[in-house]
Symmetry: C2
Subunit: 457 residues, 2 copies
């Protein structure tokens, strides 16, 4: 019972769709996180659910770890084969199987990226909403319960996956959920698998919600004198029931970084980047209400646009803050924290994070999906300077503790992977034991993405 | 190890908050469903989470079933002690523990009813949205993943429970979720417990989303020439992104029943009952768009109102269709079916249901939360006529099969209880085995609400 035997049997099953080449293993041994590279023993490229099931059965018989792989955009090392074994590259299962325009849903394979899906949908007037910035695969996004800038309006992967098919650790193929918009029949296994980071099953098909492309879209940047003013404006806007499509906080440091990176010239002050979706009339009304609220809290310097190209530029810049930050300091790497707190505690959390960063002498910025109470500190460090990495990790840990103290969570959208396991007990207490019971029941050998999310004894 | 010993030990623990009086057992032996009454051996009235945990430990040691009880409004026998044991009446745990107006959430005990919570919130400008018609407890609503008329806009219990506390079958107390609006940390145990019908844990605390009371509300009834026209109008309205607060289908039979019951005088044709929430301007715009769409599909006879009292009357009538139907035939009982299908298949499902009812010679009506694709057939029968009940059950079973064939679910919101267990395998296939594995892991003795949802070997 060895990984080597599994690899040999998989080669017989898959032929040249099983690779042990260094270059291929290398590509599947790193993600976008700060975690060290780890190469899998081999990479398998399945083409069907049935094949995934057969692969899993071979690996189960040999006790060989299986690590699902999308496009490697994880920020927490989810797809690294830290216990060796097979990287299961799902990108050859990337088809759109069905689009039901009347029902506003689509059935897709897990290897499709969100941009490819939206390209496919272009003529339908519908779009898939979840947008974590990276052009991730839908399977990876479901596995990490991803969200992003427009979750405040359209929800996270939790809300947008209607149904899924998955292969369990013994090769069983199950379906959970349906195309019906709601159901009260049995345990919500779909919700259990979404966010399970490949540790309970391998997602082989997804049915996702689609949304109507809004007739009217308007975006703006708005500068504030203080983080408190910006956050107060967010709270009031949400409470008024203004259906914001995006409402993003960007601190002055990040504005400086993005001005340099994207050749923009925004005032170096805390900002909100906002977007409104609706009928043209509705968008105008929303924008007017937001403008009044912002002004009450010291917001000004509005730059409005309804032009698609300018909006694309704005959100492209927003999505690339992490890289803009890194560009300020060539050769550095970064950690992106990801806490989420009740919105009433947001200003407190943001200010504490900034103070902690300054006290530790770190450079970096704060940005966030503040409509959800979720924000990221981009903390940069010299990979050759282990002492600086220690300070970065200390600030990240402090921020996680702050979030828990304020009634929040240590990860709003990036997930646990290998990077945040240390916080699971503090966040979940006794419930962590229940998670471990479920994991042991469904994967008694621990072959599905071992070393992620939970450490089992 | 007997139920009798458990009852004696519980009497020592709870004093007069443990009752074996016939009158008390009788009140906890019937719900609003058609299922036969079954009396529990005793009724316990806990006052705290700690006490629930102690009760569960005593029952676990004695192998005594525990059946959580709210106010007994289940339509599928969820709260009946079909295997004997203790009815756990949660209504003395009915306090609002915290209201966070800025965060738009509230922390409550499970025994509070939705009307009591909304009464408590009145001065805040916020409301709790989920409205299944019955004035159920929030614990019961979470356990059955309830929804109702406004789920199309505000979501179901699945969407509105942010966090919960539960006592498991061994007395452990766990917390799942937090007041943060989203999280990617670990398995979604909150989603696993919501809809688990008391079979995995007893919910002892809930954190729920609140919503801002809209400035503008407008409601209308609109008559159509055919069910197809009404459903086509619904589909187009949803696709246009009009944020309907309610959009309910009512067939001509039900209109007749409600005209008699509520002394209304609506034309006896298929209707949509709709409600719009938003700014006064927004509501006007939504109503105008809906009016145009309805007219395109043969909708007319609009009756609009923005008056709160008239709206209350309208929705009171809507919520009482089941009783209105029963009133047409004194002494009858009823079964309410509850399928939910993709909206594109809704007209087909509704027409097939109507045909099956007519072919079986049954009286009854069809009503539904059609924005979600969810509808109910109210099927009435003479409790003294077993042959008529057989025909009712046959039509209900046919309708369940139709829903599955059309890609839907056998229950949109009522749940499984004892009434729909027979359909679980057809709906879930292999996944039913996974549900059973989870149940056995978390409740190996099967003491939590046995005989509901799943039959274990």
């Amino acid at each position: 019972m060895t990984i080597q035997t599994a690899v040999e049997q998989l080669r017989t099953l898959l032929g040249d769709r099983l690779s042990t080449a260094d270059s291929v293993r290398d590509l599947h041994g790193r993600d976008e996180s700060w975690h060290p590279d780890v190469l899998p023993d081999a990479v398998a490229f399945p083409q069907s659910t049935q094949e995934v099931s057969e692969i899993v059965k071979i690996c189960a018989a040999q006790g060989c770890p299986i690590v699902p792989w999308g496009v490697g955009t994880s920020l927490e090392g989810h797809a690294l084969a830290v216990k060796g074994g097979i990287s299961l590259d799902m990108t050859r299962m990337d088809r759109v199987l069905e689009v039901h325009a009347e029902d506003m849903d689509a059935v897709v394979q897990p290897g499709i990226t969100r941009e490819a899906l939206n390209e496919h949908l272009r003529a339908t007037g519908l779009f898939f909403s979840v947008d974590p910035g990276a052009n991730a695969t839908l399977g990876g996004m479901a596995a990490t319960r991803a969200s992003g800038t427009n979750a405040v309006r359209y929800g996270t992967m939790r809300d947008n996956v209607l149904a899924l098919e998955a292969v369990l650790a013994d090769g069983r193929i199950i379906r959970a959920g349906s195309r019906a918009r709601k159901s009260s029949t049995g345990y919500d296994l779909k919700a259990l698998l979404v966010g399970s980071e490949g540790t309970l099953g391998i997602i082989t098909e997804l049915t996702v919600k689609l949304w109507g492309t809004p007739e009217g879209i308007s975006a703006a940047t708005c500068a504030f004198d203080s983080p408190e003013g910006a956050v107060a404006a967010v709270i009031q806007t949400i409470q008024m029931g203004v259906p914001m499509a995006r409402i993003e906080y960007v601190d002055e440091w990040s504005i400086g970084a993005v001005n340099a990176w994207a050749k923009m010239s925004l005032p170096e002050k805390p900002h909100l980047f906002v977007e409104f979706h609706g009928t043209p009339e509705g968008v105008k009304e929303q924008a007017a209400i937001f403008g009044e609220i912002a002004a009450e809290h010291g917001g000004g310097d509005f730059k409005w646009t309804t032009n698609a190209e300018e909006r694309a530029k704005l959100w492209h810049a927003r999505h690339n803050f992490y890289y803009a930050g890194r560009a300020l300091r060539p050769g550095c790497r970064g950690i992106s924290t990801d806490v989420c707190v009740p919105i009433s505690r947001l200003a407190e959390a943001v200010i504490e994070a900034r103070r902690d960063m300054q006290a530790a002498g770190l450079t970096g910025g704060l940005i966030g999906h503040v409509g959800d109470g979720n924000f990221h500190a981009g903390l940069y460090f010299d990979p050759e300077d282990p002492e600086e990495l220690v300070r970065v990790k200390e600030v990240a840990a402090k921020l996680a503790r702050t979030a828990l103290r304020l009634g929040g969570t240590v990860s709003g959208e990036h997930g646990i992977g290998v990077g945040k396991k240390a916080y699971m007990e503090a966040e979940h207490g006794e419930a962590l034991g229940v998670m471990a019971q479920i994991k042991r029941t469904l994967d008694p050998q621990g072959i599905l993405n071992p070393g992620k999310m939970l450490d089992l004894n």
